[in-house]
Amino acid sequence: MKTKTLNILVILVLFFSTNYAFADYDRNKAVPVEKVLFGNVISVRNITQEELIRDKSNGWHTFGGALIGGVIGHQFGGGSGRDVATILGAMIGGSIANNNHNQPQRKIIRLVELMIKVESGEQFMVIQDFDKQMIFHSADSIRMIYLANSTVRIDKQR
């Protein structure tokens, strides 16, 4: 059986303690880039406030476990035999720090979970901040930007 690799990159993006935490991506800024992959969105799922709070209350392991489970299920269920890398373009490092003194249940933190297929055929699951300036849909052409500060960002292609 072909050996499959599951890469898990956990990327922490700071969230600030506001009632509505939206993304603050500055997509028009020239910053160092390691590489850019091109592909399409296979599926989009908006992660709601309730889901996130449940994940927080159950702890990191539950959140990560559910994510990995989903990726493995996709990998075997699809039968493509291709590697799937999960990129948690996530949030929780800053969020935990802020939540020590706040009521987490009052927060609305919106994330978007994107299943991406790049031109080479590899699939990636990316979770990043919801950005009302850039709403993703299935079949959208995207760029997967590996920034030099060890973060990944998904942009629509123009």
Partner: protein, 200 residues
Amino acid sequence: MNKFILATVFCLSLMTLSGCSSKSVVRYGDATAVETTDVNFGSTDLQKVASQMTDSLLLSPVVGTVTANSRPIIFVERIKNKTSEHIDTESITDSLSTKLLRSGKFRFVDMGRVNSVREQLEFQQNSGMVDTSKAIAFGQQVGAQYMLYGNLSSIVKSNEDKSDVYYKFTLRLMDLKSGLVEWADETEIRKTKGKEFVSW
């Protein structure tokens, strides 16, 4: 006397304050003026890239041979943006294709409008609202002979005092029949932003 002085001072203060108040003003500017708002990709860069690439392509001896007796048909593939910036690369290809069309040496097919064309032809053929003897039939379009494609990449370096952004735009022309790249060129742009000490 004192009242007169006080009134004068008050009026002068009012005039000064009203002169300092900010208000938004709209003006027309020169669209080709050099824009140096920041180091990010801007209108001047787009114009420079489009202009230099068009000139290079039109002056190329190979292209001169190709266009000597005919007007080759080109389609422009999307420019691959490998920078961190959300740049409208379609705007670059629009400028390129417009300049090349205006040269009179090339013709273009627009792949971005294929669905609209298909809808219109289906309307002409099937809606019953168009005289079928004059309706445009499917299968009469001309295919492209050449493909124009390229990449835009950047290298960014910065420290506390200085930012340096280097852009490289590469463009290539491929013969779709033979697969040969008949022409290629690249344009480089370097932009720096640093602190300046102003003296009086």
